[in-house]
Amino acid sequence: MMGWGGAGAALSGCDLPTTVTLEEGKEDVVSYLMPEEYVIPGVGVWYASTCTQCAAACGTHGRVREGRVLKMEGNPVSPLNKGKLCMMGQAGVQGHYHPDRITEPQIRKNGSLTRVSWDQAFATIQEKVGAAGEKVAWFTGSISGHQKVLLDNHLGALGSNNHFVHEVLNTAVWQAVSKDMLGDASPNLRIDKSDLVLSFGADFLGTWMSSPVHFATQYAKFRTKKERGMLVQIEPKMTLTGGSADWWLPSKPGSEGLIALALANELITTYSKDTTALSDETVALIKQNDVASVAKATGMSAEQIKKLAALAARKKNVLALAGAPVEGHTNGYAAVSAIMVLNVLLGSVGKTIESGGAFPFAQLQARSGNSGDLLRFTEAAKASKLDVVFFHGSNPVYSAPNSVGMEAALKNVGLKVAISQFNNETTAMADVILPESSYLEDWGTHVGSHQAEQNVIGMQQPLMEKLYENTKGLGDVLLALLKQAKQAEYGQYADYYAYLRHAFSSMPASYKSDPASDEHSWNNVLANGVINVETTDQPLSVAKVALSAPAISADDSQYPLHLVPSGRLGLWDGRHANLPWLQEAPDQISKVVWDSWAELHPNTAKKLGIKSGNIIKVQSKQGEVKLKAVLLKSTHPDVIAIPMGQGHTEYGRYATGLGVNPLKILATETESKTGELAMYATRVKVSKTNDDDVVVKMGSSDTQMGRKFVVTVPVAQVRRTEGV
């Protein structure tokens, strides 16, 4: 492992002609006559940085050989991912070397794009921004660190507070409930300390809370500790996490809150759990929802609910979680609250849900995305309240349901500036397109929205020279924009690196490993990849809130099925659909590659006369999609699940024209308390067409056919032989 972080700085900061990169000096075969001092031909060196493939901010090590970054690994000192990295982190290099990258700034004039210089692009922007003032907006994905500081300062300088933060895969409702009931939106969730994880659709090994590797490392401890942890997953469609459950239970979408109330009822009446931490209204509501009535309303059997309650009562440390299928209904807040009540009743707060403490650099903390901002943005644009909008790290034109009217709303925005590595549906509507450097070419600091017990700031440093001279990182774009607004204040920073370097210098002395040398401390921080942050004590306090009833919305005989737009670890919300490794990696449940499909329970399919491979039409009130059916028992019979991520109309050679985008046909119903888009509330009807298609998937057999490939043994046997 490399020990001298400064090499990273030299690598990026140097303006010398490159004699290192073979590709640039093809005719210059003498390059090794003058190798730069940190290059040993044939020897790979690892540099620390931070992954930005999702918002987790995992620490990485990138292997660099002859000036090229080749392979990403996890950084062992990062408490988030402990040396591990998920498939999206692995595929980061493909985004970096992607053949469809934007290489030059472009301006749209009379409908066609023209290449321009950065100066021209900035001049065009400045012309509009100066007049727009408070009508300037930023539309981004989750953002943290010094990029967020600069973004806030940019809006501040213009007197605007229009920062819309959008993530399709978010935990906004859970965080709102957590904030209201526990006083902390992101407490530490200790799966590793739990004996039972009762997960209502929380795909924590996949897309939930956007920290898959962190939760997977916790999961490993959960399964191997003395009292082997048990995972119960209740959800409408099996997620990656559901695939690892000890007990997987299908739930009727929107019914999870009631099931939680029935569990609470059973825990109080049969197992005499203490209700002093709950408000009288909440206890009264629980009393109304006895097992029998909930069983009737939800279709889950009374026996199953009783079994679940017995399990929860028996296990010592329980953690109840709620994910997107629960959050994404009109009753999402009430349902997640009911699930949080289980944590209160079972004494989990303080045991499996711990205080993360207060992060001392609030300005660097993550601003996590939600879907409500997508709707608020569209409203503001429709009302002509936005004149200039900057887009970064989010693709709203792809993600917004048709019924939201995003494209029409954008026509009301005078100037749309997209900062992006790739052309996508949003850049296709932009007036100015700014080519972004890849995360392996850029500087930055990142704070994951979910932190481990040890809080950290992730350091992102370039691992190689820019592939395309005319790309800029987000930090540099922000800095340039700030110089337009406040030259006196920001003129001193030559580039974003200089800004970050200055920011580090002004950190408290306790963050400098070498008090005598700021330079040395900086190099150590870069070599390490993360800055450990000491939080201050901020205990959780359970608030006695009045729970409201998580009512199930009425059935619709015209549209009898529930549409589940499921997220995938891999393509994520569609942002990674252009990475061929991730397209070729089979979906973890259906094993399908390079396509979209609709998951149906075989019993439902039988009723509708649908067979695997039939092209079916899925219609909601807002539109329809046609795609092939895949029959899987891992789906509730009232559900049709279509994974999101495909159906791009504009996203380069690998993603364009592949599959369908289920987000397009979603209804714009909202969660009643938080205003979040109720993504799981859309009702659909399904009909068969006369077409068929081959389901291209990995493996031909779904069963082991009696052969001993994966053997499953009961936990009692392992307790005896291994003492766990």
């Binding site: 997977a216 973890q588 936990v715």
Partner: protein, 277 residues
Amino acid sequence: MSLSNVLNNWSEFRKGAEEGGHHKYEHKWAMAINLDLCIGCNACSTACYAENNLAVVGKERFEKGQAMHWLRVERYWDQSEKEFPEQGASYLPMMCQQCNSATCEPVCPVAATYHTPDGLNAQVYNRCIGSRYCSNNCPFRVRYFNFYSYYESSWPEPLHMQLNPDLTVRDKGVMEKCTFCIQRIRTAKDKAKMEDRKVIDGEFQTACAQACPTSAIVFGDSMDENSQVSQLWKKHEVKMGLYKQNKTEPQKRGYRIFEELNVDPSIMYLERVREEA
């Protein structure tokens, strides 16, 4: 050569290293994969694509079974009699098992696949003539044939700059498969030799083991008694060189797939555990 001589040599060959068998290994690289920790997330297989210059073949060729995934994660549904898969999915990371008595080796007409002194089943690409007998004979279906020159389509510029220069890009007509990241083994051995020491357990890992978020995959040298992998094999009473294990505790979780075929795989799997409510 007398008949007894042949028979003696043969039975010696069929014995593993622990029983003083034929193989005079310098190292014996092996794995232990804990299926109770495998969550099926594909981190290992994607890491393998990144490390080993695996070609992306696209949908049409995938359909024809021509995908080049040296390491694939199988998903099986058990409990087929039930209405729902109540115990989740059964995931199985499947790659070359580096068999000590590999069925692919004796059928190669040109000895392109052979056994290394490290106990690996190696493939010599520039010796391979593409008969595909080896793949036909492999019970694990983990050998992948280059039906095309994938480099023409799989790495459009500048994607090719990601290619790992420590190993080749294979061309049409050549068989390939998991090597236990032999380039990493090579680097570690060279480094140890230069520093005049033995390879230390854990100083390097295969790409899959390094990526695995739950550390389900453990890689190491089974000749090193103290290595983590040796300890795991010992704990679960699985020995190489046998087609049937003699465990003092038969319910210990370690097992090898297709052990009964006497191929003597170098990968031990640990059974998946489930708790009934």
